[in-house]
């Protein structure tokens, strides 16, 4: 039998025959006109098949045309010029050049300067270290070393890890380093007085979050993914296909069972709402099997009871608390009400445990007795009288408390500075004593002071060495460290004669 003709197709699709009207039908006025109105995008053969009843969608099958060529450069040529620019991110005054459009402002800021963001570098004092940062795994020296590296390499952790070579320290993984660094930073942020508001503090804290265990697990998992053998991969694929197949058959089974129940018991409603186990995809194959088994046994013979239970679960818990807080905030503010979470385990409080009514100002925060006088002094200097407020409202009391905390921290820091300064003085005195003894000795053996020419040479030699010479010397030179290096090197040579310059002479010889 020959292929189906156009007429056959038309009759199958029950379309009227446009070209050959039946004897009872009026003749169409003009076939040619209709053909001419063939919509764009439909092939002639198809049109002759389906005729004018072509779906409107077909009109959209317009033959794709090439896009018009973009018109480059016709709107006048852009001139570029080679010129110097100012980079605001540079600390030095170095001027670099680049190509820029001639029209632009030559003094405008370098647009990429804003991306030069310095990460906050954290520094801690010995006092803070002993109070907060002690760790059995880490010494202070190694922590210092780590922080120095992190600062130097701009928190590029892989580089830090690569360059990490602490002498006398154990082998550190990248996670160890990161964990130590972020733990220290978090502790510092948490324990130091914070100038900004709470939100910015918690934001910073969350940016310093690091979960070592999780990170290690994550990396191990990725590594295990990478190191799968082809057999394992194939097995995984096979398992996946199997899983899909099982799911499909389960669904089919369910549908058939529903139909059966419907026809047998005449239950029309409810059953179709039984949730299909869509989550099966996410879980592994053994799990699915278990669920399948569960379906066999747990599928209720009385489906009506299943429906409400599933409904209850899907409805979820109502959340009255949230709505209430939003609504009652204004009410609470109006009535000066402040709510706190009641711990659920509260036993019925007796009279003794009830906090009696009080005046807010009586519960103003107080600084610790040991530092109270100094805190008061610090606050007095900036015009705040602690212990008294004009408007002791709740918010202001909280404010005062954080101010007191900050002031206490300041007093503590000053105290430690005093102590360290005292230690420095003691050490300097001891050093000075020793030096003067040493100087007397060298004078005893006696060598002439260097000639002026020597001084010049010594000075010219190397600033670095000159300083090292100074540093082994008396308390006087330590004090003069603040002066410029040049003057120091001179003073080191011409004031105290022998020891240092003699050594240098020998080196030159």
């Amino acid at each position: 039998m020959a292929g189906a003709s156009a007429a056959d197709v038309r009759s199958i699709l029950s379309l009227p025959n446009p070209s050959t009207p039946g004897p009872s039908q009026p003749r169409k006025p003009s076939n040619a006109g209709e053909r001419a109105r063939k919509p764009e995008g439909i092939s002639r053969e198809l049109y002759s098949l389906i005729g004018p009843s072509a779906p409107s969608l077909a009109a959209q099958f317009v033959k794709p045309r090439l896009k018009q060529k973009p018109n480059f450069g016709s709107g006048g040529r852009v001139k570029w010029e080679w010129r110097p620019f100012k980079n605001g991110a540079r600390a030095d005054s170095m001027r670099l050049h680049h190509w820029a459009k001639t029209g632009t402002d030559p003094e405008a800021d370098y647009p990429f300067a804003k991306y030069n963001i310095q990460p906050i570098s954290f520094v801690y004092s010995q006092d803070e270290y002993t109070r907060l940062l002690e760790d059995q795994e880490w010494t202070k020296e190694e922590t210092d070393y780590l922080f120095e590296l992190v600062r130097e390499y701009d928190q590029r952790w892989h580089i830090v890890h690569d360059r990490y070579e602490y002498i006398g320290g154990s082998e550190r993984s990248l996670e160890d380093l990161k964990d130590r660094y972020f733990t220290v930073c978090r502790k510092l942020v948490k324990n130091r007085p914070w100038a900004g508001d709470e939100a910015s503090k918690s934001q910073l804290l969350s940016s310093l979050q690091f979960d070592k265990e999780r990170e290690i697990t994550r990396k191990r998992y990725i590594a295990s993914l990478e190191s799968r053998t082809p057999q394992q991969k194939a097995e995984e694929d096979a398992l996946y296909v199997e899983l899909k197949r099982l799911e499909q058959s389960e669904r089919r089974f369910k549908r058939e069972r529903d139909e059966l129940l419907r026809t047998l018991l005449g239950i029309e409603s409810g059953l179709s709402e039984l949730p299909l186990d869509e989550e099966g995809i996410a879980t592994g194959p053994p799990d699915t099997k278990r669920r399948k088994k569960g379906n066999h046994t747990a599928e209720p013979d009385t489906p009506i009871s299943a429906t409400p239970s599933s409904n209850v679960i899907s409805l979820g818990q109502p959340q009255p608390r949230k709505a209430q807080t939003a609504k009652s905030a204004a009410y609470d503010a109006l009535h000066f009400i402040y709510r706190t979470e009641v711990p659920p385990t509260t036993t019925s409080t007796t009279k003794a445990s009830h906090q009696a009514a009080y005046l807010r100002s009586y519960k103003l925060p107080q600084p610790k007795i040991t530092s109270a006088a100094k805190v008061a002094q610090v606050l007095g200097e900036i015009g705040i009288s602690h212990g008294r407020l004009v408007m002791p409202t709740r918010d202001n009391c909280v404010q005062l408390e954080s101010l007191l905390e900050a002031a206490t921290a300041l007093v503590e820091t000053k105290k430690v500075v005093d102590k360290v300064e005292q230690d420095i003085r003691v050490l300097k005195a001891r050093l000075g004593k020793r030096e003067s003894e040493g100087a007397e000795d060298s004078f005893g053996t006696g060598e002439a002071a260097p000639t002026p020419m020597d001084v010049d040479e010594v000075e010219a030699e190397a600033d670095g060495r000159a300083q090292s010479v100074v540093s082994t010397r008396s308390a006087r030179s330590v004090r003069s460290r603040k002066q410029s290096r040049r003057s120091m090197s001179i003073s080191s040579v011409d004031t105290s004669a022998a020891g240092a310059s003699r050594r240098q002479k020998r080196q030159r010889d």
């Binding site: 520094v123 004092s125 010995q126 007085p193 100038a195 109006l334 009535h335 000066f336 009400i337 402040y338 709510r339 706190t340 979470e341 009641v342 409080t349 009830h354 906090q355 009696a356 009514a357 009080y358 005046l359 807010r360 100002s361 519960k363 610090v378 606050l379 900036i382 015009g383 705040i384 009288s385 008294r388 407020l389 004009v390 408007m391 002791p392 409202t393 709740r394 918010d395 202001n396 404010q399 005062l400 954080s402 101010l403 900050a406 002031a407 921290a409 300041l410 820091t413 000053k414 500075v417 360290v420 300064e421 230690d423 420095i424 050490l427 300097k428 050093l431 020793r434 540093s471 082994t472």
Partner: protein, 258 residues
């Protein structure tokens, strides 16, 4: 329902803003003559009032009647006054007297029975003489003629009475009387307070009034102070770290020379 009334509402703290303090005015010679004790120079009124001022009133605070939760206020005056313990059982909770000297007044506030709260004390230093800038060369007590020109002296402390876990019945009473909110912005002079000496100028020229702006400004004052302190702490910490490095160096030197 009645049983529920005596249940404490846990986790809830409700407070009521009050002010306490005094207003003092210098007596004219004529008034002094009329007094039984002619050495008295001032007439003063000590009071406990609600914090917000009634519009167009010539007293500080007192917009609300506080008797819904305060049953009695006892002012204990100086012993030289006749009958020095004055109980005031109904509003206005205030005592007016004449005198020549400043002294400490003990104020005892007793709450209504529904509150189940004990009475508590607070103190107010009776202020008769005009406020002066601390540490200025002016005498603490200006001559009486000058003081007369400066008008009434106001000395008021804002405070909030805080009730923890109030009884339901008491809470109902309190919420039935929401306190008049303080005006958002300063319209009248600011009540002077020694904790904010800078407000001296703003406190002159009429009956002062407590406002929310004062509260905000105090919060800002504390905030700036805190920022200052934190900045200073940072610089001191920097210093400390430098010093520690120096100390470290010195220690090494000492070891090297030893």
């Amino acid at each position: 329902m009645a049983a529920n009334e005596r249940v404490r509402v846990r986790g809830l703290t409700i407070s009521r803003p009050i002010i306490y303090g005094n207003t003092a005015i210098v007596l004219t010679p004529k008034e002094r003559e009329a007094l039984s004790s002619p050495d008295h120079t001032h007439r003063w009124t000590v009071a406990v009032r609600s914090a917000a001022s009634a519009p167009d009133s010539d007293i500080v605070g007192g917009a609300d009647d506080l008797s819904y939760f305060i049953k009695r206020v006892t002012f204990k005056l100086h012993d030289t006054y006749p009958n020095p313990t004055r109980n005031v059982d109904k509003p206005p909770f205030e005592v007016s007297e004449t005198g020549w000297g400043e002294f400490e007044i003990q104020i005892r506030i007793t709450f209504v029975a529904e509150s189940g709260e004990k009475a508590f004390f607070t103190y107010h230093h009776l202020k008769l003489h005009p406020w002066t800038v601390v540490g200025s060369t002016e005498p603490d007590i200006p001559p009486i003629e000058a003081a007369m020109k400066m008008g009434p002296v106001h000395s008021w402390q804002y405070d909030e009475i805080v009730f923890n876990d109030p009884f339901q019945s008491f809470l109902n009473i309190l919420t039935a009387h929401p306190p008049t909110p303080l005006p958002k912005h300063t319209r009248r002079p600011v009540p002077f307070h020694t904790a904010n000496p800078a407000s001296l100028e703003a406190s002159k020229g009429g009956v002062p009034e407590f406002t929310q702006q004062m509260e905000r400004e105090e919060a800002e004052r504390l905030e700036t102070a805190r920022k200052k302190v934190v900045a200073e702490t940072d610089s001191w910490r920097q210093k400390l770290i430098e010093k520690e490095k120096e100390l470290e160096k010195l220690k090494k030197q000492l070891e090297a020379t030893a």
